[in-house]
Amino acid sequence: MTSIAKIIGQRVALGALTLWIVSLIIFAGVQLLPGDVATELLGQSATPEAVAALRKSLGLDMPVYLRYLDWLGSILRGNFGTALASGRDIAELIRPRLFNTLVLAVSAAVISVPLALLGGIVAAVYRNTFIDRAINVVTLASISFPEFFVAYILILILAVHVAVFPSLSDVDSSTSFLGRLTAIALPALTLAVVVLAHMMRMTRTSIVNLLGNQYIETARLKGLPEWRVLVRHALPNALAPIATVVVLNLAYLITGVVVVEVVFVYPGLGQLIVDSVQKRDVPVVQACSLIFASTYVLLNLMADVLSIIMNPRLMHPK
Protein backbone atom coordinates (compact mmCIF):
# COMPACT_ATOMS: atom_id res chain seq x y z
CA MET A 1 0.00 0.00 0.00
CA THR A 2 2.94 2.37 0.51
CA SER A 3 3.37 2.27 -3.20
CA ILE A 4 -0.18 3.56 -3.65
CA ALA A 5 0.56 6.35 -1.19
CA LYS A 6 3.64 7.22 -3.18
CA ILE A 7 1.68 7.26 -6.42
CA ILE A 8 -0.96 9.47 -4.86
CA GLY A 9 1.71 11.83 -3.57
CA GLN A 10 3.27 12.07 -7.01
CA ARG A 11 -0.08 12.66 -8.62
CA VAL A 12 -1.05 15.43 -6.22
CA ALA A 13 2.20 17.20 -7.02
CA LEU A 14 1.58 16.71 -10.73
CA GLY A 15 -1.98 17.91 -10.22
CA ALA A 16 -0.64 21.19 -8.87
CA LEU A 17 1.53 21.47 -11.97
CA THR A 18 -1.51 20.78 -14.15
CA LEU A 19 -3.45 23.55 -12.43
CA TRP A 20 -0.61 25.97 -13.00
CA ILE A 21 -0.46 25.18 -16.73
CA VAL A 22 -4.25 25.45 -16.97
CA SER A 23 -4.09 28.90 -15.40
CA LEU A 24 -1.47 29.91 -17.98
CA ILE A 25 -3.53 28.60 -20.90
CA ILE A 26 -6.73 30.25 -19.72
CA PHE A 27 -4.99 33.52 -19.02
CA ALA A 28 -3.38 33.53 -22.45
CA GLY A 29 -6.63 32.38 -24.10
CA VAL A 30 -8.68 35.20 -22.63
CA GLN A 31 -5.96 37.70 -23.59
CA LEU A 32 -6.14 36.45 -27.18
CA LEU A 33 -9.88 37.06 -27.41
CA PRO A 34 -10.81 40.32 -29.08
CA GLY A 35 -11.47 43.16 -26.66
CA ASP A 36 -10.99 43.31 -22.92
CA VAL A 37 -13.14 43.83 -19.87
CA ALA A 38 -13.24 47.58 -20.43
CA THR A 39 -14.56 47.39 -24.00
CA GLU A 40 -16.98 44.58 -23.14
CA LEU A 41 -18.39 46.43 -20.13
CA LEU A 42 -18.89 49.65 -22.04
CA GLY A 43 -20.26 47.77 -25.04
CA GLN A 44 -21.05 49.82 -28.08
CA SER A 45 -20.76 53.05 -26.11
CA ALA A 46 -17.04 52.51 -25.59
CA THR A 47 -15.29 55.74 -26.48
CA PRO A 48 -11.49 55.53 -26.40
CA GLU A 49 -11.46 57.93 -23.47
CA ALA A 50 -13.92 55.94 -21.35
CA VAL A 51 -12.10 52.70 -22.18
CA ALA A 52 -8.78 54.19 -21.12
CA ALA A 53 -10.25 55.46 -17.84
CA LEU A 54 -11.79 52.09 -17.07
CA ARG A 55 -8.63 50.22 -17.98
CA LYS A 56 -6.62 52.38 -15.69
CA SER A 57 -9.00 51.98 -12.78
CA LEU A 58 -8.93 48.20 -13.23
CA GLY A 59 -5.15 48.05 -13.54
CA LEU A 60 -5.36 46.77 -17.12
CA ASP A 61 -2.73 49.26 -18.23
CA MET A 62 -0.07 47.10 -16.57
CA PRO A 63 1.90 44.66 -18.78
CA VAL A 64 0.30 41.25 -19.21
CA TYR A 65 2.99 39.27 -17.38
CA LEU A 66 2.81 41.59 -14.36
CA ARG A 67 -0.94 41.10 -14.18
CA TYR A 68 -0.47 37.35 -14.32
CA LEU A 69 2.21 37.34 -11.62
CA ASP A 70 0.04 39.59 -9.51
CA TRP A 71 -2.84 37.18 -9.85
CA LEU A 72 -0.59 34.16 -9.20
CA GLY A 73 0.77 35.80 -6.07
CA SER A 74 -2.63 36.37 -4.56
CA ILE A 75 -3.94 32.93 -5.52
CA LEU A 76 -0.97 31.33 -3.78
CA ARG A 77 -1.98 33.20 -0.66
CA GLY A 78 -5.42 31.65 -1.06
CA ASN A 79 -7.04 34.83 -2.31
CA PHE A 80 -9.16 34.61 -5.45
CA GLY A 81 -9.26 38.39 -5.69
CA THR A 82 -12.20 40.50 -6.84
CA ALA A 83 -14.17 40.39 -10.06
CA LEU A 84 -13.11 43.10 -12.51
CA ALA A 85 -16.58 43.73 -13.86
CA SER A 86 -18.49 44.07 -10.60
CA GLY A 87 -15.76 44.50 -7.98
CA ARG A 88 -17.26 41.73 -5.88
CA ASP A 89 -15.23 39.21 -3.92
CA ILE A 90 -14.76 36.18 -6.17
CA ALA A 91 -14.87 33.63 -3.34
CA GLU A 92 -18.25 35.04 -2.30
CA LEU A 93 -19.41 35.00 -5.93
CA ILE A 94 -18.41 31.38 -6.44
CA ARG A 95 -19.39 29.73 -3.16
CA PRO A 96 -23.20 29.50 -3.64
CA ARG A 97 -22.79 28.63 -7.30
CA LEU A 98 -20.28 25.90 -6.62
CA PHE A 99 -22.68 24.48 -4.07
CA ASN A 100 -25.51 24.52 -6.64
CA THR A 101 -23.31 22.89 -9.25
CA LEU A 102 -22.27 20.13 -6.86
CA VAL A 103 -25.85 19.47 -5.72
CA LEU A 104 -26.95 19.12 -9.33
CA ALA A 105 -23.99 16.93 -10.28
CA VAL A 106 -24.48 14.64 -7.29
CA SER A 107 -28.20 14.31 -7.97
CA ALA A 108 -27.59 13.47 -11.60
CA ALA A 109 -24.86 10.99 -10.61
CA VAL A 110 -27.07 9.34 -7.99
CA ILE A 111 -29.67 8.73 -10.67
CA SER A 112 -27.37 7.78 -13.52
CA VAL A 113 -24.42 5.78 -12.14
CA PRO A 114 -26.37 2.93 -10.49
CA LEU A 115 -28.74 2.84 -13.44
CA ALA A 116 -25.83 2.69 -15.86
CA LEU A 117 -24.06 -0.12 -14.00
CA LEU A 118 -27.28 -2.06 -13.55
CA GLY A 119 -28.32 -1.51 -17.15
CA GLY A 120 -24.87 -2.47 -18.40
CA ILE A 121 -24.80 -5.67 -16.37
CA VAL A 122 -28.35 -6.61 -17.37
CA ALA A 123 -27.49 -5.97 -21.00
CA ALA A 124 -24.38 -8.12 -20.64
CA VAL A 125 -26.23 -10.97 -18.94
CA TYR A 126 -29.00 -10.93 -21.51
CA ARG A 127 -26.68 -10.01 -24.33
CA ASN A 128 -28.11 -10.26 -27.82
CA THR A 129 -31.60 -10.78 -26.52
CA PHE A 130 -34.51 -8.43 -26.87
CA ILE A 131 -33.76 -6.83 -23.49
CA ASP A 132 -30.21 -6.00 -24.50
CA ARG A 133 -31.34 -4.49 -27.76
CA ALA A 134 -34.12 -2.48 -26.16
CA ILE A 135 -31.73 -1.00 -23.58
CA ASN A 136 -29.30 -0.33 -26.36
CA VAL A 137 -31.71 1.42 -28.70
CA VAL A 138 -33.26 3.56 -25.99
CA THR A 139 -29.96 4.76 -24.56
CA LEU A 140 -28.42 5.37 -27.96
CA ALA A 141 -31.41 7.34 -29.12
CA SER A 142 -31.32 9.38 -25.93
CA ILE A 143 -27.68 10.40 -26.35
CA SER A 144 -28.27 11.33 -29.94
CA PHE A 145 -30.41 14.22 -28.78
CA PRO A 146 -28.61 17.40 -27.80
CA GLU A 147 -28.93 18.31 -24.12
CA PHE A 148 -31.12 21.32 -24.64
CA PHE A 149 -33.44 19.22 -26.74
CA VAL A 150 -33.72 16.51 -24.10
CA ALA A 151 -34.44 19.33 -21.66
CA TYR A 152 -37.20 20.76 -23.87
CA ILE A 153 -38.81 17.34 -24.25
CA LEU A 154 -38.72 16.67 -20.50
CA ILE A 155 -40.18 20.14 -19.86
CA LEU A 156 -42.92 19.51 -22.39
CA ILE A 157 -43.88 16.24 -20.73
CA LEU A 158 -43.22 16.86 -17.04
CA ALA A 159 -43.85 20.58 -16.70
CA VAL A 160 -46.29 21.61 -19.41
CA HIS A 161 -48.49 18.56 -19.99
CA VAL A 162 -48.31 17.05 -16.51
CA ALA A 163 -47.31 19.78 -14.11
CA VAL A 164 -45.15 17.69 -11.77
CA PHE A 165 -41.94 19.68 -11.84
CA PRO A 166 -41.22 23.36 -12.46
CA SER A 167 -39.64 24.33 -15.76
CA LEU A 168 -37.37 26.82 -13.99
CA SER A 169 -34.95 25.74 -11.27
CA ASP A 170 -35.52 28.79 -9.16
CA VAL A 171 -33.32 28.16 -6.09
CA ASP A 172 -31.61 30.46 -3.62
CA SER A 173 -30.07 30.14 -0.17
CA SER A 174 -33.50 30.13 1.47
CA THR A 175 -34.81 27.18 -0.55
CA SER A 176 -35.52 24.12 1.60
CA PHE A 177 -33.92 20.78 0.84
CA LEU A 178 -37.16 19.35 -0.49
CA GLY A 179 -37.84 22.47 -2.53
CA ARG A 180 -34.37 22.17 -3.96
CA LEU A 181 -34.94 18.55 -4.97
CA THR A 182 -38.16 19.46 -6.78
CA ALA A 183 -36.51 22.44 -8.43
CA ILE A 184 -33.58 20.48 -9.78
CA ALA A 185 -35.56 17.37 -10.73
CA LEU A 186 -35.73 18.24 -14.42
CA PRO A 187 -32.12 19.40 -14.90
CA ALA A 188 -30.88 16.36 -12.97
CA LEU A 189 -33.00 14.05 -15.12
CA THR A 190 -31.79 15.75 -18.27
CA LEU A 191 -28.17 15.31 -17.27
CA ALA A 192 -28.77 11.74 -16.19
CA VAL A 193 -30.20 10.95 -19.62
CA VAL A 194 -27.23 12.64 -21.26
CA VAL A 195 -24.52 10.71 -19.39
CA LEU A 196 -26.34 7.41 -18.86
CA ALA A 197 -25.80 5.81 -22.23
CA HIS A 198 -22.07 6.33 -22.37
CA MET A 199 -21.48 4.68 -19.00
CA MET A 200 -23.95 1.89 -19.67
CA ARG A 201 -22.45 1.03 -23.02
CA MET A 202 -18.98 0.95 -21.57
CA THR A 203 -20.06 -1.30 -18.71
CA ARG A 204 -21.62 -3.74 -21.10
CA THR A 205 -18.70 -3.67 -23.52
CA SER A 206 -16.07 -4.11 -20.83
CA ILE A 207 -17.86 -7.09 -19.35
CA VAL A 208 -18.67 -8.77 -22.65
CA ASN A 209 -15.08 -8.23 -23.70
CA LEU A 210 -13.87 -10.40 -20.83
CA LEU A 211 -16.29 -13.23 -21.35
CA GLY A 212 -13.97 -15.10 -23.71
CA ASN A 213 -11.31 -15.41 -21.02
CA GLN A 214 -10.30 -18.68 -19.49
CA TYR A 215 -11.23 -17.86 -15.92
CA ILE A 216 -14.75 -17.00 -16.92
CA GLU A 217 -15.07 -20.38 -18.61
CA THR A 218 -13.71 -21.96 -15.43
CA ALA A 219 -16.23 -20.12 -13.30
CA ARG A 220 -18.98 -21.24 -15.63
CA LEU A 221 -17.78 -24.80 -15.50
CA LYS A 222 -17.99 -24.62 -11.71
CA GLY A 223 -21.72 -24.31 -12.34
CA LEU A 224 -22.15 -20.73 -11.14
CA PRO A 225 -25.21 -18.94 -12.46
CA GLU A 226 -24.47 -16.47 -15.29
CA TRP A 227 -25.11 -13.29 -13.28
CA ARG A 228 -22.76 -14.47 -10.53
CA VAL A 229 -20.08 -15.21 -13.06
CA LEU A 230 -20.46 -11.69 -14.38
CA VAL A 231 -20.67 -9.84 -11.10
CA ARG A 232 -18.07 -11.82 -9.18
CA HIS A 233 -15.58 -12.64 -11.90
CA ALA A 234 -16.00 -10.40 -14.90
CA LEU A 235 -17.04 -7.11 -13.31
CA PRO A 236 -13.99 -6.59 -11.06
CA ASN A 237 -11.71 -7.00 -14.05
CA ALA A 238 -13.82 -4.71 -16.16
CA LEU A 239 -13.80 -1.96 -13.56
CA ALA A 240 -10.80 -0.05 -14.88
CA PRO A 241 -12.37 1.15 -18.13
CA ILE A 242 -15.75 1.52 -16.42
CA ALA A 243 -14.21 3.70 -13.72
CA THR A 244 -12.52 5.83 -16.37
CA VAL A 245 -15.76 6.43 -18.19
CA VAL A 246 -17.72 7.05 -15.00
CA VAL A 247 -15.13 9.56 -13.85
CA LEU A 248 -15.14 11.34 -17.19
CA ASN A 249 -18.88 11.65 -16.96
CA LEU A 250 -18.81 12.82 -13.35
CA ALA A 251 -16.33 15.49 -14.33
CA TYR A 252 -18.65 16.42 -17.17
CA LEU A 253 -21.57 16.74 -14.76
CA ILE A 254 -19.62 19.35 -12.83
CA THR A 255 -17.85 21.19 -15.60
CA GLY A 256 -19.91 20.82 -18.73
CA VAL A 257 -23.45 21.65 -17.85
CA VAL A 258 -23.67 25.23 -19.01
CA VAL A 259 -26.36 24.50 -21.60
CA VAL A 260 -28.59 22.80 -19.03
CA GLU A 261 -28.00 25.67 -16.64
CA VAL A 262 -29.10 28.14 -19.32
CA VAL A 263 -32.26 26.23 -20.19
CA PHE A 264 -33.36 25.78 -16.56
CA VAL A 265 -31.94 29.11 -15.36
CA TYR A 266 -29.99 27.25 -12.69
CA PRO A 267 -27.37 29.45 -11.01
CA GLY A 268 -24.32 27.21 -11.34
CA LEU A 269 -20.70 27.74 -12.22
CA GLY A 270 -21.14 27.10 -15.95
CA GLN A 271 -23.23 30.21 -16.47
CA LEU A 272 -20.76 32.22 -14.42
CA ILE A 273 -17.77 31.17 -16.49
CA VAL A 274 -19.53 31.82 -19.81
CA ASP A 275 -20.64 35.27 -18.60
CA SER A 276 -17.13 35.99 -17.41
CA VAL A 277 -15.51 34.87 -20.65
CA GLN A 278 -17.88 37.19 -22.49
CA LYS A 279 -16.98 40.07 -20.21
CA ARG A 280 -13.26 39.09 -20.31
CA ASP A 281 -13.30 39.06 -16.52
CA VAL A 282 -10.01 37.18 -16.22
CA PRO A 283 -9.86 36.59 -12.43
CA VAL A 284 -13.34 35.03 -12.39
CA VAL A 285 -12.62 32.88 -15.45
CA GLN A 286 -9.38 31.79 -13.79
CA ALA A 287 -11.06 30.97 -10.50
CA CYS A 288 -13.79 28.91 -12.18
CA SER A 289 -11.28 27.14 -14.42
CA LEU A 290 -9.14 26.23 -11.44
CA ILE A 291 -12.14 24.77 -9.64
CA PHE A 292 -13.08 22.77 -12.71
CA ALA A 293 -9.52 21.66 -13.24
CA SER A 294 -9.04 20.53 -9.64
CA THR A 295 -12.32 18.62 -9.80
CA TYR A 296 -11.08 16.85 -12.84
CA VAL A 297 -7.63 16.15 -11.41
CA LEU A 298 -9.12 14.72 -8.22
CA LEU A 299 -11.65 12.51 -9.97
CA ASN A 300 -8.98 11.36 -12.34
CA LEU A 301 -6.72 10.43 -9.49
CA MET A 302 -9.55 8.39 -8.04
CA ALA A 303 -10.01 6.52 -11.28
CA ASP A 304 -6.31 5.74 -11.51
CA VAL A 305 -6.12 4.56 -7.91
CA LEU A 306 -9.15 2.39 -8.54
CA SER A 307 -7.55 0.88 -11.64
CA ILE A 308 -4.39 0.16 -9.70
CA ILE A 309 -6.27 -1.54 -6.92
CA MET A 310 -8.13 -3.61 -9.50
CA ASN A 311 -4.96 -4.64 -11.24
CA PRO A 312 -2.15 -4.91 -8.67
CA ARG A 313 0.37 -5.64 -11.39
CA LEU A 314 0.24 -1.93 -12.23
CA MET A 315 1.73 -1.15 -8.84
CA HIS A 316 5.07 -2.36 -10.01
CA PRO A 317 5.64 -0.61 -13.29
CA LYS A 318 8.58 -1.85 -15.22
Binding site: N136, P241, I273, V277
Partner: protein, 284 residues
Amino acid sequence: MTMLHPPRIIKTGASKFVSAPLSAKFGIAVITLYVLTALLAPHLAPYGEAEIVGTQFEPWSARFWLGTDNLGRDMFTRLVFGARNTIGIALMTTIFAFSIGASAGLTAATFGGWTDQILSRLIDVLMSIPQLIFALLLLSIFGTSIPTLIIVIAVLDSTSVFRLTRAVGVNAAASDYVEVARLRGEGPIWIMTREILPNIAPTLIAEFGLRFCFVFLLISGLSFLGLGIQPPTADWGSMVRDTATLIVYGDVTPLLPAGAIALLAVGINMVVDWFLHSASGLKD
Protein backbone atom coordinates in the same frame (compact mmCIF):
# COMPACT_ATOMS: atom_id res chain seq x y z
CA MET B 1 -5.64 -11.74 -32.13
CA THR B 2 -5.36 -11.00 -35.79
CA MET B 3 -8.79 -9.70 -36.45
CA LEU B 4 -7.55 -6.24 -37.37
CA HIS B 5 -5.66 -7.61 -40.33
CA PRO B 6 -7.57 -6.04 -43.24
CA PRO B 7 -7.99 -8.94 -45.71
CA ARG B 8 -9.03 -11.21 -42.90
CA ILE B 9 -11.64 -8.74 -41.73
CA ILE B 10 -13.24 -8.58 -45.13
CA LYS B 11 -13.13 -12.29 -45.51
CA THR B 12 -14.54 -13.05 -42.09
CA GLY B 13 -16.91 -10.13 -42.43
CA ALA B 14 -18.33 -11.36 -45.69
CA SER B 15 -18.74 -14.88 -44.53
CA LYS B 16 -20.24 -13.77 -41.27
CA PHE B 17 -22.65 -11.27 -42.74
CA VAL B 18 -24.99 -14.00 -43.88
CA SER B 19 -25.09 -15.44 -40.40
CA ALA B 20 -25.24 -12.02 -38.74
CA PRO B 21 -28.11 -11.35 -36.37
CA LEU B 22 -31.04 -9.31 -37.58
CA SER B 23 -29.95 -6.25 -35.60
CA ALA B 24 -26.58 -6.17 -37.33
CA LYS B 25 -28.24 -6.50 -40.72
CA PHE B 26 -30.52 -3.64 -39.79
CA GLY B 27 -27.52 -1.58 -38.72
CA ILE B 28 -25.70 -2.28 -41.96
CA ALA B 29 -28.80 -1.39 -43.93
CA VAL B 30 -29.11 1.93 -42.07
CA ILE B 31 -25.46 2.79 -42.59
CA THR B 32 -25.66 1.90 -46.28
CA LEU B 33 -28.77 4.05 -46.65
CA TYR B 34 -27.06 7.02 -44.98
CA VAL B 35 -23.89 6.66 -46.99
CA LEU B 36 -25.86 6.48 -50.22
CA THR B 37 -27.93 9.50 -49.19
CA ALA B 38 -24.78 11.43 -48.38
CA LEU B 39 -23.15 10.51 -51.67
CA LEU B 40 -26.19 11.09 -53.85
CA ALA B 41 -27.57 14.11 -51.98
CA PRO B 42 -27.80 16.48 -54.96
CA HIS B 43 -29.63 13.82 -56.99
CA LEU B 44 -32.04 12.83 -54.24
CA ALA B 45 -33.01 16.28 -53.01
CA PRO B 46 -35.90 17.89 -54.85
CA TYR B 47 -34.55 21.43 -54.27
CA GLY B 48 -31.24 23.21 -53.70
CA GLU B 49 -29.56 23.04 -50.31
CA ALA B 50 -30.18 26.68 -49.38
CA GLU B 51 -32.97 27.40 -51.81
CA ILE B 52 -36.00 29.17 -50.38
CA VAL B 53 -38.97 27.48 -51.96
CA GLY B 54 -41.98 28.32 -49.81
CA THR B 55 -43.17 30.27 -46.82
CA GLN B 56 -41.96 29.40 -43.37
CA PHE B 57 -43.09 26.27 -41.53
CA GLU B 58 -45.37 24.95 -44.24
CA PRO B 59 -47.06 21.67 -43.33
CA TRP B 60 -46.17 18.34 -44.88
CA SER B 61 -47.49 18.10 -48.41
CA ALA B 62 -46.86 16.48 -51.75
CA ARG B 63 -44.71 19.47 -52.70
CA PHE B 64 -42.77 19.62 -49.44
CA TRP B 65 -42.66 16.09 -48.07
CA LEU B 66 -41.60 17.16 -44.63
CA GLY B 67 -42.74 20.76 -44.75
CA THR B 68 -40.46 23.77 -44.72
CA ASP B 69 -38.17 25.29 -42.09
CA ASN B 70 -38.18 28.73 -40.49
CA LEU B 71 -36.88 30.39 -43.66
CA GLY B 72 -39.10 28.46 -46.05
CA ARG B 73 -36.47 25.95 -47.17
CA ASP B 74 -37.58 22.40 -47.93
CA MET B 75 -37.06 20.28 -44.83
CA PHE B 76 -36.50 17.03 -46.73
CA THR B 77 -33.84 18.66 -48.90
CA ARG B 78 -32.10 20.05 -45.84
CA LEU B 79 -32.15 16.64 -44.20
CA VAL B 80 -30.65 14.95 -47.25
CA PHE B 81 -27.88 17.54 -47.58
CA GLY B 82 -27.50 17.45 -43.83
CA ALA B 83 -26.57 13.79 -44.13
CA ARG B 84 -23.69 14.65 -46.38
CA ASN B 85 -22.35 17.55 -44.29
CA THR B 86 -23.00 16.08 -40.89
CA ILE B 87 -21.71 12.59 -41.54
CA GLY B 88 -18.73 13.93 -43.42
CA ILE B 89 -17.74 16.29 -40.64
CA ALA B 90 -18.47 13.81 -37.86
CA LEU B 91 -16.57 11.03 -39.58
CA MET B 92 -13.51 13.14 -40.30
CA THR B 93 -13.51 14.57 -36.81
CA THR B 94 -13.86 11.17 -35.18
CA ILE B 95 -11.20 9.53 -37.30
CA PHE B 96 -8.88 12.42 -36.64
CA ALA B 97 -9.63 12.31 -32.92
CA PHE B 98 -8.97 8.56 -32.82
CA SER B 99 -5.73 8.80 -34.76
CA ILE B 100 -4.37 11.33 -32.30
CA GLY B 101 -5.90 9.90 -29.15
CA ALA B 102 -5.32 6.21 -29.75
CA SER B 103 -1.72 6.51 -30.91
CA ALA B 104 -0.82 8.76 -28.00
CA GLY B 105 -2.65 6.46 -25.60
CA LEU B 106 -0.91 3.37 -26.96
CA THR B 107 2.46 5.06 -26.76
CA ALA B 108 1.82 6.02 -23.17
CA ALA B 109 0.66 2.52 -22.26
CA THR B 110 3.52 0.73 -23.98
CA PHE B 111 6.43 2.88 -22.93
CA GLY B 112 5.13 3.81 -19.51
CA GLY B 113 7.44 5.80 -17.28
CA TRP B 114 8.21 9.36 -18.32
CA THR B 115 6.58 9.11 -21.72
CA ASP B 116 3.37 8.08 -20.01
CA GLN B 117 3.69 10.79 -17.39
CA ILE B 118 4.30 13.59 -19.86
CA LEU B 119 1.54 12.53 -22.25
CA SER B 120 -0.92 11.87 -19.45
CA ARG B 121 -0.29 15.19 -17.76
CA LEU B 122 -0.54 17.03 -21.05
CA ILE B 123 -3.88 15.41 -21.72
CA ASP B 124 -4.92 16.12 -18.14
CA VAL B 125 -4.31 19.78 -18.75
CA LEU B 126 -6.42 19.74 -21.90
CA MET B 127 -9.19 17.72 -20.29
CA SER B 128 -9.35 19.69 -17.11
CA ILE B 129 -10.55 22.70 -19.06
CA PRO B 130 -14.26 22.19 -19.72
CA GLN B 131 -14.75 21.16 -23.32
CA LEU B 132 -17.44 23.63 -24.25
CA ILE B 133 -15.54 26.53 -22.67
CA PHE B 134 -12.33 25.48 -24.39
CA ALA B 135 -14.14 25.19 -27.71
CA LEU B 136 -15.70 28.59 -27.13
CA LEU B 137 -12.27 30.10 -26.49
CA LEU B 138 -10.55 28.39 -29.42
CA LEU B 139 -13.29 29.02 -31.95
CA SER B 140 -13.61 32.64 -30.87
CA ILE B 141 -9.91 33.06 -31.44
CA PHE B 142 -9.48 31.01 -34.63
CA GLY B 143 -12.89 31.50 -36.27
CA THR B 144 -15.47 28.89 -37.20
CA SER B 145 -14.57 27.66 -40.65
CA ILE B 146 -15.20 23.94 -41.13
CA PRO B 147 -11.51 22.91 -41.04
CA THR B 148 -10.99 24.82 -37.78
CA LEU B 149 -14.13 23.29 -36.38
CA ILE B 150 -12.95 19.78 -37.28
CA ILE B 151 -9.49 20.29 -35.84
CA VAL B 152 -10.68 21.93 -32.64
CA ILE B 153 -13.34 19.30 -31.93
CA ALA B 154 -10.97 16.47 -32.90
CA VAL B 155 -8.23 17.69 -30.58
CA LEU B 156 -10.68 18.15 -27.73
CA ASP B 157 -12.28 14.78 -28.40
CA SER B 158 -8.95 12.98 -28.73
CA THR B 159 -8.31 13.59 -25.04
CA SER B 160 -11.00 11.18 -23.91
CA VAL B 161 -9.89 8.65 -26.53
CA PHE B 162 -6.41 8.90 -25.07
CA ARG B 163 -7.69 8.32 -21.55
CA LEU B 164 -9.61 5.25 -22.54
CA THR B 165 -6.87 3.80 -24.74
CA ARG B 166 -4.33 4.30 -22.03
CA ALA B 167 -6.58 2.82 -19.35
CA VAL B 168 -7.23 -0.41 -21.25
CA GLY B 169 -3.78 -0.37 -22.85
CA VAL B 170 -1.99 -0.28 -19.52
CA ASN B 171 -3.95 -3.33 -18.46
CA ALA B 172 -3.01 -5.13 -21.63
CA ALA B 173 0.60 -4.01 -21.37
CA ALA B 174 0.82 -5.61 -17.94
CA SER B 175 -0.50 -8.93 -19.24
CA ASP B 176 1.48 -12.12 -19.66
CA TYR B 177 1.48 -12.22 -23.45
CA VAL B 178 3.01 -8.76 -23.65
CA GLU B 179 5.54 -9.87 -21.07
CA VAL B 180 6.35 -12.84 -23.26
CA ALA B 181 6.70 -10.62 -26.31
CA ARG B 182 9.02 -8.29 -24.46
CA LEU B 183 11.15 -11.21 -23.36
CA ARG B 184 11.20 -12.38 -26.96
CA GLY B 185 12.84 -9.04 -27.68
CA GLU B 186 10.08 -7.53 -29.80
CA GLY B 187 10.27 -3.77 -30.39
CA PRO B 188 7.77 -1.33 -28.85
CA ILE B 189 6.03 -0.63 -32.17
CA TRP B 190 5.52 -4.33 -32.71
CA ILE B 191 4.15 -4.74 -29.20
CA MET B 192 1.88 -1.78 -29.64
CA THR B 193 0.34 -2.76 -32.94
CA ARG B 194 0.48 -6.56 -32.75
CA GLU B 195 -0.11 -7.30 -29.10
CA ILE B 196 -1.81 -4.43 -27.34
CA LEU B 197 -3.92 -2.89 -30.10
CA PRO B 198 -5.75 -6.08 -31.10
CA ASN B 199 -6.56 -6.69 -27.46
CA ILE B 200 -8.00 -3.30 -26.80
CA ALA B 201 -9.58 -2.81 -30.22
CA PRO B 202 -13.07 -3.90 -29.16
CA THR B 203 -13.22 -1.27 -26.45
CA LEU B 204 -11.97 1.36 -28.88
CA ILE B 205 -14.46 0.37 -31.52
CA ALA B 206 -17.30 0.60 -29.02
CA GLU B 207 -16.04 4.03 -28.10
CA PHE B 208 -15.83 5.02 -31.77
CA GLY B 209 -19.52 4.36 -32.21
CA LEU B 210 -20.32 6.69 -29.34
CA ARG B 211 -17.74 9.39 -30.04
CA PHE B 212 -19.17 9.67 -33.51
CA CYS B 213 -22.52 10.69 -32.03
CA PHE B 214 -20.90 13.07 -29.56
CA VAL B 215 -19.53 15.14 -32.41
CA PHE B 216 -23.08 15.98 -33.52
CA LEU B 217 -23.92 16.92 -29.98
CA LEU B 218 -20.94 19.18 -29.56
CA ILE B 219 -21.70 20.96 -32.83
CA SER B 220 -25.26 21.38 -31.71
CA GLY B 221 -24.13 22.64 -28.29
CA LEU B 222 -21.82 25.10 -29.99
CA SER B 223 -24.64 26.40 -32.13
CA PHE B 224 -26.48 27.00 -28.86
CA LEU B 225 -23.70 29.43 -27.95
CA GLY B 226 -23.72 31.05 -31.40
CA LEU B 227 -20.79 29.10 -32.86
CA GLY B 228 -20.99 26.15 -35.20
CA ILE B 229 -21.21 25.42 -38.89
CA GLN B 230 -21.39 28.30 -41.35
CA PRO B 231 -24.80 28.97 -42.83
CA PRO B 232 -26.51 28.13 -45.07
CA THR B 233 -24.82 24.70 -44.86
CA ALA B 234 -27.35 22.19 -43.60
CA ASP B 235 -26.23 20.11 -40.65
CA TRP B 236 -28.45 18.12 -38.33
CA GLY B 237 -27.07 19.57 -35.12
CA SER B 238 -27.83 23.15 -36.13
CA MET B 239 -31.15 22.09 -37.64
CA VAL B 240 -32.23 20.75 -34.26
CA ARG B 241 -31.15 24.01 -32.66
CA ASP B 242 -32.94 26.16 -35.24
CA THR B 243 -36.25 24.40 -34.85
CA ALA B 244 -35.95 23.29 -31.21
CA THR B 245 -38.41 25.84 -29.82
CA LEU B 246 -41.17 24.19 -31.88
CA ILE B 247 -41.10 21.17 -29.60
CA VAL B 248 -42.40 23.43 -26.82
CA TYR B 249 -45.64 23.58 -28.77
CA GLY B 250 -45.66 19.84 -29.44
CA ASP B 251 -44.56 20.24 -33.07
CA VAL B 252 -42.45 17.28 -34.21
CA THR B 253 -40.27 19.12 -36.76
CA PRO B 254 -37.10 19.17 -34.60
CA LEU B 255 -37.51 15.44 -34.05
CA LEU B 256 -36.66 14.87 -37.72
CA PRO B 257 -32.97 15.88 -37.63
CA ALA B 258 -32.66 14.56 -34.06
CA GLY B 259 -34.23 11.29 -35.20
CA ALA B 260 -31.88 11.13 -38.16
CA ILE B 261 -28.94 11.35 -35.77
CA ALA B 262 -30.50 8.80 -33.41
CA LEU B 263 -31.19 6.27 -36.16
CA LEU B 264 -27.62 6.50 -37.40
CA ALA B 265 -26.30 6.16 -33.85
CA VAL B 266 -28.41 3.07 -33.28
CA GLY B 267 -27.41 1.59 -36.62
CA ILE B 268 -23.69 2.13 -36.11
CA ASN B 269 -23.75 0.75 -32.62
CA MET B 270 -25.70 -2.34 -33.64
CA VAL B 271 -22.97 -3.15 -36.08
CA VAL B 272 -20.36 -2.37 -33.45
CA ASP B 273 -22.09 -4.74 -31.04
CA TRP B 274 -22.12 -7.55 -33.54
CA PHE B 275 -18.49 -6.90 -34.24
CA LEU B 276 -17.67 -6.96 -30.53
CA HIS B 277 -19.62 -10.10 -30.09
CA SER B 278 -17.73 -11.94 -32.79
CA ALA B 279 -14.45 -10.46 -31.58
CA SER B 280 -15.03 -11.68 -28.04
CA GLY B 281 -15.07 -15.21 -29.42
CA LEU B 282 -18.24 -16.13 -27.64
CA LYS B 283 -20.26 -18.93 -29.01
CA ASP B 284 -23.60 -18.06 -27.47
